[in-house]
Symmetry: C2
Subunit: 141 residues, 2 copies
DNA sequence: TGGTATTTTGATAATGGTTATCATTACCAA
DNA sequence: TTGGTAATGATAACCATTATCAAAATACCA
């Protein structure tokens, strides 16, 4: 099932309505292959449909997160950024503190160790965030 | 060198002044063995010295972070919490999404793997954050 | 021990991302 | 269609944090 269908089903399953705005915001978001802010998404959507409100973009992003189709990040002390999750598998982030460049990675052994640690402490882990902050190749002295 | 002396030295080293407020805020903060908000710290300090301003608490927390004596966290979407770092070694966090309980852990193998991954991607890591979100023993169904 | 340049402070206004409000509009099952 | 409910857009409100600025405190030197 594709991203759009998945979102539509999520809405239908809990009696929420499928609207023009939600479809457009969702589709625009899914097409962005990056970590996007609500404002940026709003501007992109506005090009297509100038009457869409910023509040609806925020509301839809929240829905997409609940549906497991988006993930929210707050790197450092910056404001929220969102990324599509439908196709990409889980991954973590390396953030350059100088130029802001974000690189993604995934390491099965780290994932496994996390689960083991949590289990040993009696926790049942649902999600996690691993963020490495430093200097990318270009920004190193 | 103790925490207080360490902070005093940090200030002296860069021509900053050692004030009654900074000493009190720093000492009160160091005595808290928990993850504290600026507001909470402000209230504790105010009991001792009612004339200290909230802005100064924020400013001093920022200094303590720069000095490597405190660490700032934003678990989930909540506001900033700070923890003393002087004595405790580096550690990561398990957060219960239901009751808010925070447990600390440290795992050398994960730390090592992080460095290896970063190195393989050309990054030089300065700090990192690993947060595991889930349900603690008490909150599991 | 003053004197003085500089930093720090406290009160408060401003900021800015996000959320709440509410009248109007859109959706959809019957 | 229609009626009941949910969603929307504009904007006000929120609230943690930061900026501002006049007054006070500090460090250093004569
Ligand atoms: Zn960089
Ligand atoms: Zn990502
Ligand atoms: Zn719990
Ligand atoms: Zn901790």
């Amino acid at each position: 099932m594709g991203n759009t269908a998945c979102f539509t089903k999520y809405l239908a399953d809990r009696g929420l309505k499928s609207t023009r705005q939600r479809e457009l915001i969702s589709a625009t978001f899914m097409a962005i292959n990056d970590h996007t802010s609500a404002e940026e998404l709003y501007l992109r959507v506005a090009k297509e449909e100038p009457d869409v409100g910023l509040a609806t973009v925020y509301r839809t992003l929240k829905l997409l997160c609940s549906a497991g189709l988006a993930r929210e990040h707050r790197f450092g002390n910056s404001s929220s950024r969102y990324e599509p999750l439908s196709i990409k598998q889980h991954h973590d982030h390396l953030i350059c503190t100088k130029c802001g460049y974000v690189e993604e990675f995934e390491h099965p052994k780290i994932e496994k160790l996390q689960d083991e640690i949590a289990a040993s402490l009696g926790f049942e882990v649902m999600t996690h965030k691993l963020e490495l902050y430093g200097l990318c190749r270009k920004c190193q002295p």
